[in-house]
Amino acid sequence: MKINIIFGGKAGQGSNFLGVLLGKVAVKLGYYAFYYRDYQSLIRGGHNYNALTFSDQPVYSNETKIDLLVALDDNSIKIHEKNLKKDGYILKGNNKNTFFAGALFKILGIDMKILEDELKKLKRFEENMQYAKEGYASEKERFSIKKIKQTKDLKFINGTQGLAKGAIESGLDIYYAYPMTPATPVLGALAKKQVEGNYLVLELENEISVINAAVGSAMTGAKVMVGTSGGGFDLMSETISLCGMAEIPVVIYLAQRPGPGTGVPTYSLQCDLDVARHVGHGEFPRLVLAPGDPNEAYQLASEAFYFSQKYKIPSIVISDKHLAESIYTMDNKLKLKKSTKSTSLKKYTSYEHTTKGLTTEDPEDTIEGFKRRLKTTKDISEEANKFEMFKIHGNIKSKNLVLAWGSTKGAVLDAIKDLDCKFLQILYIEPFSREIKEHIEKAKNVLIIESNSTSQLSGLIAEKTGFIIQDKNKILKYDARPFYLAELREEIKKRLK
């Protein structure tokens, strides 16, 4: 059983409110839900839509064919009607959000009491309840969504919440940021709880200020994180290089958006793997991690802090809008790596320096500096082997191997269901697990799935393993929209051996 719903309307009309509400309720009823937000770079008007899929089985992606279209304006009908299944239904009209909520509950056959509980959490309960009742009475039941038995403790959260929770529970002291989609929600999530959580959130004048303030605070021993997207990350690059030289621990949250330039700012692609790996001039140790769902964002945030603190390096956690803003159904099993603060105030410098922190231009000292950084890179690599650097999903014995990283995880998981396919999801980009080479060598057929045009992961694989992935085995999507289940499944099937 699987239901696909689109909520469409103009920006500001509230299609997101309805979608999130229903997603939450579906998870409460024991279902797995996946919720995707599609919005433009504008505040009022235009066309926004949200896609909710829920099922009695785990689900991490949406389908193109929909069962129900909730259209808050005519434009939404025009755009999405073609994807409606034969027996699909359109809920339309011009009314209050809570009216539609009532109508939706009736159409889906969900108990009105559940809606009442949700509306109690909002302002103007009486008024909203009245609208909801009217909406409920205006439609007839078309689906029968009943509570199902769910043994797991499920929650409905997005990547932003996972990452923010991970940072807080890793002992975050200060978060600096300058607003930039799609990193901004982390700024919002952290800012809200800063007083009760006794950490500090500061928005500064630009990303250059943000990363340099982070350096200043990190020097005093504070655990510091900054957040940005591609353009802001580019601005930070000189100071990330400084962190590499001066040995200063900072965690950098990089929420990718489709570039180059301003690109397609409110949509999602995975084009910044290369820049994360190579950011900053010079050669220096760094950690680059790529979570694929909110629980992994939580876990990897803590590992980023751990490695940053232990080795005094910049750690980069890569996300994108698809992970940051889509809402996933996750179980409550979270893994946290604790870290202790390691830095204290002393003389730091952006120049090459001796172990005592004194500036040097001496050739022997210069070599020593390089050796020190190379050793740190090696030590990190060794210790990382004790961590879960990648995950294997699907049929572990299959000779068909799919490689992917980051937010495509969900769509790949859904797409390979029942296919003869082993899915290796890479969590640690830098350092890179040696074991991945063995998995590639064991496979007869290696596919790569990425949301970019040049397959940056193929470049990484080639560099680290010497294995060249054939172009015909690269499934690349770069329309800045997520992979939909049917299309991805077809593309994989075509390439299976």
Binding site: V215, G216, S217, K347, T359
Partner: protein, 279 residues
């Protein structure tokens, strides 16, 4: 703290006779006096890139010799990381007015409690003499600007006054002037902007500025008046000099950034920093 405790063993690479030596001496005297007055005080220093930045190696205090133009956000980060620190930032005119100018305006606006010294020699000295944002019209360096500077210099004092800085001062690179203004700045709660006019003996020697300077404290200058400060700031446009006022142009007590966040107020009360919090 004895002033000599601030010495390091690093051999100075400033040109012999560089006024930076006088700035260094004045700074050391003021810091030594401040540390004696407040025995619990912990200092941190930050410098950027340029001749000024070498001062970091010659003062035995922790901190960062940072990147070009980024002294201010680093100082802010230090102060936010440990609100009990006494932070002094050093910049040059290239570092501050060219590369890092945006931070200067915002530093004035944030009003975090740290002291900021700009060594203004009106030239990029460490890159052998190119003009900066405060170099006068007509300046020729012989290599990159053979036809002379054509644009008007910036007036940093006016910029700071307009940006809401709570402490705005200018002195000459003279030991006593540097020492005494920094002592007053340490007593000021908030962001203190101190510009030091410093001839570069190699690329931009004194073009008759020193003899045109006079001290504001000898006049009836009202440093609590923004209007009076602006008028005084207008007397010298960094291009041609008739009279160059020196001293504190403006001083005002405003709530500091650290006083606005309860998290930082708590750290201050407990004389602790984030490092002491184990979660």
């Amino acid at each position: 703290m004895n002033k000599d405790e601030l010495n390091t063993k690093v051999v100075s690479t400033w040109c012999p006779g560089c006024p930076n030596f006088m700035i260094l001496e004045g700074v050391k005297r003021a810091i030594a006096a401040e540390s004696t007055k407040d025995k619990k005080s912990e200092f941190a220093v930050v410098s950027g890139i340029g001749c000024h930045a070498k001062i970091f190696d010659y003062i035995n205090l922790p901190g960062l010799n940072s990147l070009h133009g980024r002294v201010l956000p680093t100082c802010l980060g230090l102060k936010v990381g440990n609100p009990n620190l006494k932070v002094v930032g050093f910049s040059g005119d290239g570092d501050c007015y060219s590369e890092g100018i945006s931070h200067l305006i915002h530093a004035a606006r944030y009003n975090a409690d740290f002291k900021y010294i700009v060594h203004n020699n009106q030239v990029f000295a460490l890159t052998v003499g190119q003009p900066t944002a405060t170099t006068e019209i007509g300046y020729k360096d012989g290599t990159t600007f053979p036809f002379g500077v054509k644009t008007m210099p910036l007036n940093p004092i006016k910029l700071m006054l307009a940006s809401g800085a709570t402490f705005v001062a200018r002195v000459f690179s003279d030991i006593n002037q540097v020492e005494s203004v920094l002592k007053v700045a340490f007593n000021h709660k908030g962001f203190a902007f101190i510009e030091i006019l410093q001839p570069c003996i190699t690329f931009h020697p004194d073009i008759g500025y020193k003899e045109k300077t006079y001290l504001l404290e000898n006049e009836k200058h009202d440093k609590s008046s923004l209007d009076a400060a602006m008028k005084k700031a207008d007397e010298f446009d960094y291009n041609t000099a008739k009279k160059i006022p020196l001293g504190i142009f403006y001083q005002e007590r405003k709530e500091t950034l650290e006083e606005k966040y309860p998290q930082l107020v708590n750290l201050n009360k407990k004389s602790s920093s984030w490092k002491d919090i184990n979660r």
